[in-house]
Symmetry: C3
Subunit: 250 residues, 3 copies
């Protein structure tokens, strides 16, 4: 999957939150994809049609930007391109939850969240505080399957273990470190990377979990080389760049 992503160098259209735009772009570049943060009212719908995939993240939504997200989603759907929804902090703020459910109705190819977000969206939890998952990811497996079936989408729950499901099958990836939770944007950029895998490698459940495996590998590599979140930040980007497909054979 990683080999195919790099060969295709997918152009990933990101409409993400204000906080993590630079980091998300750098994660995509380090992985071998090509980021484009197109947010203009007049160009988002057009551009989503020519990009390889779209990633929508509601970390800092406001009305004008939400309209642009919807335009871009319509552009992606019309062109048959995959799009990923990152429902940041679902369950935490009623106004935002309404936005998230509206986007969820627009046929995302995949939804990526932590356990509390996924549980809330599936109707079996109360949501979390900020972007930190309060629940173990395995606690959200059934919720993820329910959500995937209801919206006919892939659902990816990340945490100490990551799960990807299409509503029937469940694939699991293991890895990751606490350090990742101390750098803003690691989860958000994973969602953008998921769009890169779906648009640049393959539109499949296997591509979803391959993305998680790749991120976990980079995460583990960076953790052992870091003495804090500052050094983790650059080591993580270096690791994403250095990891080669053949490294996974080990």
């Amino acid at each position: 999957m990683l080999h195919r992503l790099r060969a295709n160098r997918p152009l990933v259209h990101c409409i993400t939150n204000e906080v993590v735009q630079e980091f998300t772009a750098n994660v995509l570049l380090a992985a071998g994809a090509s980021p484009a943060m197109v947010v203009g009212e007049g160009e988002a719908e057009y551009f989503a049609g020519i990009a390889s995939a779209l990633s929508v993240n509601v970390g800092t939504p406001y009305e004008a930007r939400i309209e642009t997200m919807k335009k871009a989603i319509r552009g992606a759907l019309a062109a048959g391109k995959p799009w990923v929804l990152d429902p940041v902090a679902a369950g935490g703020i009623p106004w935002r939850d309404k936005v998230i459910f509206e986007l969820l109705e627009m046929q995302p190819t995949a939804v990526r969240g932590n356990a509390s977000e996924i549980r809330f969206l599936a109707g079996v939890g109360t949501g979390g505080k900020g972007v930190d998952s309060l629940d173990d990811s395995s606690s959200a497996i059934e919720a993820a399957k329910t959500l995937a079936r209801k919206y006919k989408t892939f659902v990816v729950v990340t945490g100490l273990k990551d799960y990807a499901t299409d509503g029937e099958r469940v694939l699991c990836a293991v890895g990751g470190s606490e350090m990742m939770t101390l750098v803003v944007g690691t989860g958000c950029s994973l969602s953008a990377l998921l769009a890169a895998f779906l648009g640049g490698a393959e539109r499949s459940l296997e591509a979803c979990i391959a993305c998680c495996d790749y991120v976990n590998y980079a995460n583990d590599t960076a953790s052992t080389r870091s003495s804090g979140p500052g050094s983790f930040h650059f080591q993580y980007l270096d690791a994403l760049y250095q990891i080669r497909p053949e490294d996974f054979r080990k």
Copy 2:
């Protein structure tokens, strides 16, 4: 104070400038707080009520965002939560000064600025060029006391020496390096960290100066490990993470 902050892991609502959002979030995470950059028209007031503290920074103000700041401030005040004002470049641009004085009337728990900003707000200076302080911080002690008494707020002046005052007492912290002025957001993130101390440790003058001490310690540590502003940037985040309360006994 640092021990208490980490035990409470305060949720800090930040409405800050476009330039330093990622760095501010990473500073809060490295210190042990939980950042949330909530800026939506429909959620800022609600969220300020459930967060532990609010930090407002006017580094890149524009009308829609200023309205959101005011909503969030009303939410914080209604819930009795502390909020911090960072009056970036006060005295530099008349339009912005008007905005700053409007926010200053909204009962901030603390105001954090450099000497030229604080002197201007107290009516004894002409303000500065950009975000660089043109004055020695000690030159602003009397201005800080005046400002604190007038608005019944803590005032923190940072520079080579830092001063915190409630209008009567003045506490001082020493430390810091020139390198800090070569990385954007060190001052802005200090204001967010001040909100974290006020909301997560204690609402007191002692908490204000503890925040400065902690930042100075991290700054000094990072300076000795850096060969330029790029390496300072990540060393500073590592230092904030590594410093333990017991390190201050030395």
Copy 3:
């Protein structure tokens, strides 16, 4: 030129894209300039008049921000200050192209782009995919000269070789590495640095190519010290800070 820039410490007003604001500010600080990202409707025109130079980048344009760009440009022109246009992704999206041509009519002091952008603006190419240049920079020399003559502006084409022209003379700088293309904002921040050289050193073709030389030097230095785009990011900032004017004599 570098000596003069640092002696004058120019205040560079940047209205740039959402993705690279922090990096652009840090590049300017590391080089010895003073960044100010002033984007308020009520302050952009005023501030452009008091800054040393203005840098406008259309990486993430939307209507409100485009209006602010135009206000700032009018402020810079009225005060006789230089301004630089970075036409990100020109030729890629019709809506954006219209915006770029409107800005191009407002008498930029310099235009900085990659080969495909410059070729498109000169009417001899079809533009590129995202921000990556698809053409060798030397392929755009004639286009750059045409563009410079038509709009009476300096044109700087960057790539593996960089060219600066006023429509008659062409100066060349050599250097740079592939790593630079894997960190978002290296090109965008080069445009801001170009504004710093034009406003803080000299308004000349020589200042344009001096800026490219300086960036290439930092780029080469950082490349040899990096093991990936994460470490390149901070090494690049360190190198910009460490390079002294006398180093160019070697």
